[in-house]
């Protein structure tokens, strides 16, 4: 039994020599050995002994084999690296770097630039209003405003490209 999982920026290669029963399992993650005894309390609630240490965990499965795991107040999004991620939202600005898109459904309340403007990294482009907060979307790089695809009072959603910036190469963090 072998899994390739992705949690945040980390990739976990999970391998088990005796996938037999979950009550008593030996597995390795990126080479590190773990002895796991698992006691499922429900579909979403688990009690585990991992290398002798007791852990309580909660899990919720999403649409694409990804699972949201909660352990001691911390939430982990665990993705199966083998499954195509067409529908799973990646966090942050990993769309094409010059495409400015809203993080959540919002309303455009101010457009601060015009097509053809030269902008600097961090410069405000569009101000959105959502959940009573104002958020400013900024230019991820230096460049020129190639196109503005939105207008004042437009209702926008993640995936809508509001502004296109034509710029220098982005150095990915």
């Amino acid at each position: 039994m072998k899994y390739q999982l992705k949690i945040g920026s980390e990739t976990l290669t999970l391998d088990s020599s005796n996938p037999g029963c979950e009550q008593d399992m030996q597995l390795s993650i990126n080479g590190k050995e773990y002895h796991v005894c698992c006691n499922p309390l429900s579909d979403t609630h688990f009690h585990l002994l991992v290398n002798g240490k007791a852990t309580e965990a909660f899990v919720f499965s999403g649409q694409n084999d990804e699972k949201h795991v909660c352990i001691k107040g911390l939430n982990f999004l665990v993705l199966n690296d083998k499954v195509p991620l067409s529908r799973v939202k990646r966090k942050g600005f990993e769309e094409a770097p010059g495409e400015i898109t809203p993080p959540m459904p919002s309303v455009v309340i101010r457009i601060m630039v015009a097509e053809g403007d030269m902008v600097k990294k961090g410069q405000g482009l569009v101000v959105l209003s959502a959940m009573k907060m104002e958020t400013t979307l900024v230019a991820p790089t230096d460049g020129k405003v190639k196109r503005i695809n939105t207008f004042l009072n437009a209702k926008v959603a993640p995936g809508d490209i509001l502004v296109e910036i034509e710029g220098e190469e982005v150095d990915k963090k």
Binding site: L14, N30, K67, K91, K132
Partner: protein, 494 residues
């Protein structure tokens, strides 16, 4: 005493108010928008009235519809909660005009104290020291620029009709004034219907200390001690505690008396909060009076044993306050943190969606004022506060340990919350020392990311969940789909 109270609010505070009403034998009416039809506050109430569509203008901010709901249900009093119409004098006035009691201060007091510059002038006349600032509201950036020169940079641009941290901008130099006024003015216009601004001197590392006051309609005023609200983000409070780690008996006495003076000079009645800023030299300055119940009122309730909502209802119905200042004592320590539906790793962008899984903390000294339940859909149209976690113990150190334990056992899956961020905040050595100021998060938690030490554990849980699920469903299907006959067929033999 009232027979039926309409709660003109939603979420955790509406639930909390209704609970006290229930304990007092008072019938409750919930009002809601269409996206809140299955919200917890609607489920909690004895009856509910649909106001309109999700936009607050059509629902929770709609005075006409709320008063109509009160008339239709025969409610004899209205509790406004916090936010929304809680400090709207027109609402209070129309409520009273319709023959119902507004559970809060008199209309005139709300109006006068709601004008922040008038409030400052009133306090100055009563000998309460105020922060250097302007006394005349304006929208003219040129005027504000001149005033800023008088006060000295940095200054804080604030909305005259404001509250809750909205519409505030720090201006460190004249060049920033124009944009700050535009931005603050529009946010204020949207949040309070009034975009007028004023200026205050921006104090460097102030501590935000407020006093809870209670006043009846017969001239009795008391304070219920202080709360410190020094952990803020974007000028919104996240963590509050009582007593304040820097308070001395002397300072408490001086500030308490200032709070009582503020209450008396303004003719206050019902519950309210007098806010002060404490600078690094131990000088305190009047900031404003919040003429409503505050989000963080539970920490005062935990340490004084007084149900502030009950007192609000009693005062509003004409009963005299039966407590005197010397009777009011504080025991132990209490801390509250607000559980916001925001992603702390993505600039705290609000996170809407369905709560898939919820397990709330419990145990000694734990109070969780929740507005959610597993399966509820969190709408995008409102403040992202899901619940408040309040913890109390004998000492500050014990309270911190209890808060960390409670947060580590708090499970909310389906949307992002700030719980992981809060855990690290409370574990930080700076917080333990009580060395806090309103810029705490900017100073110590600027580029925070959740620690990934337990990533391996999460991977293990992933695998365990897969293995122990009775029917392995094909990718793309959700857990709630019915299994197909092929999956349930079981053994068969030709």
């Amino acid at each position: 005493m009232f027979k039926k109270v309409l709660v003109a609010n939603r979420g955790e505070i509406a639930v909390r108010i209704m609970r006290t009403c229930r304990e007092m034998g008072i019938h409750t009416v919930a009002v809601h928008s269409d996206v809140d039809s299955r919200a917890l506050h609607v489920l909690e109430a004895d009856e509910s009235v649909l106001l309109g569509e999700a936009d607050p203008i059509d629902s929770y901010l709609n005075i006409t519809r709320i008063i109509s709901a009160a008339e239709a249900t025969g409610a004899d009093a209205i509790h406004p909660g916090y936010g929304f119409l809680a400090e709207n004098p027109d609402f209070a006035e129309q409520c009273e005009a319709s023959g119902r009691t507004f559970i809060g201060p008199p209309v005139r007091v709300i109006r006068d104290l709601g004008d922040k510059t008038l409030a400052r002038r009133t306090m100055e006349s009563a000998g309460v020291s105020v922060i250097p600032g302007t006394v005349c509201p304006t929208n003219d950036p040129a005027k504000l620029l001149r005033e800023a020169d008088n006060i000295g940079y940095p200054v804080l641009v604030k909305p005259v009709a404001g509250g809750g941290g909205k519409g505030m901008r720090v201006v460190s130099s004249p060049e920033e004034m124009q944009e700050a006024c535009l931005s603050a003015g529009s946010e204020a216009e949207k949040a309070f219907g009034n975009g007028a601004l004023y200026l205050e001197k921006y104090l460097k590392n102030p501590r935000h200390i407020e006093f809870q006051i209670l006043a009846d309609n017969h001239g009795n005023v008391v304070h219920l001690f202080e709360r410190e609200c020094s952990i803020q983000r974007r000028h919104q409070k996240i963590i509050e505690e009582t007593p304040s780690p820097v308070m001395t008996a002397q300072l408490r006495s001086a500030m308490g008396n200032a709070a009582l003076s503020a209450a008396r000079v303004s003719g206050y009645a019902n519950a309210g909060t007098v806010e002060f800023l404490l600078d690094e030299s131990g000088n305190f300055y009047f900031l404003e009076v919040n003429t409503r119940l505050q989000v963080e009122h539970p920490i005062t309730e935990m340490t004084t044993g007084i149900d502030i909502v009950r007192k609000q209802i009693e005062i509003a119905s004409g009963e005299p306050l039966k407590i005197i200042q010397d009777d009011i004592l504080q025991r132990g320590h209490a801390i509250e943190c607000r559980i916001y539906a925001e992603d702390p790793e993505n600039n705290f962008f609000p996170s809407a969606g369905k709560i898939a899984l919820l397990r709330e903390p419990s145990g000694p000294g734990i109070r969780n004022d929740s507005g959610i339940y597993a399966g509820v859909e969190i709408p995008v149209e409102y403040d992202p506060i899901l619940s408040k976690l309040i913890v109390t113990a004998e000492t500050r150190k014990y309270t911190l340990a209890r808060m960390i334990r409670a947060l580590e056992s708090y499970v909310i899956l389906g949307i992002k919350t700030i719980i992981p961020f809060l855990i690290d905040l409370f574990k930080s050595p700076q917080f333990l020392e009580g060395n806090i100021c309103t810029n705490f998060i900017d100073h110590h938690f600027k580029d925070w990311g959740q620690n990934m030490n337990d990533a391996d554990l999460a991977g293990i849980v992933y695998v365990m969940e897969e293995k122990t699920r009775p029917n392995k469903l094909s990718p793309g299907k959700s857990q709630t789909d019915w299994p197909t006959p092929w999956e349930t067929l079981g053994h068969w033999k030709v």
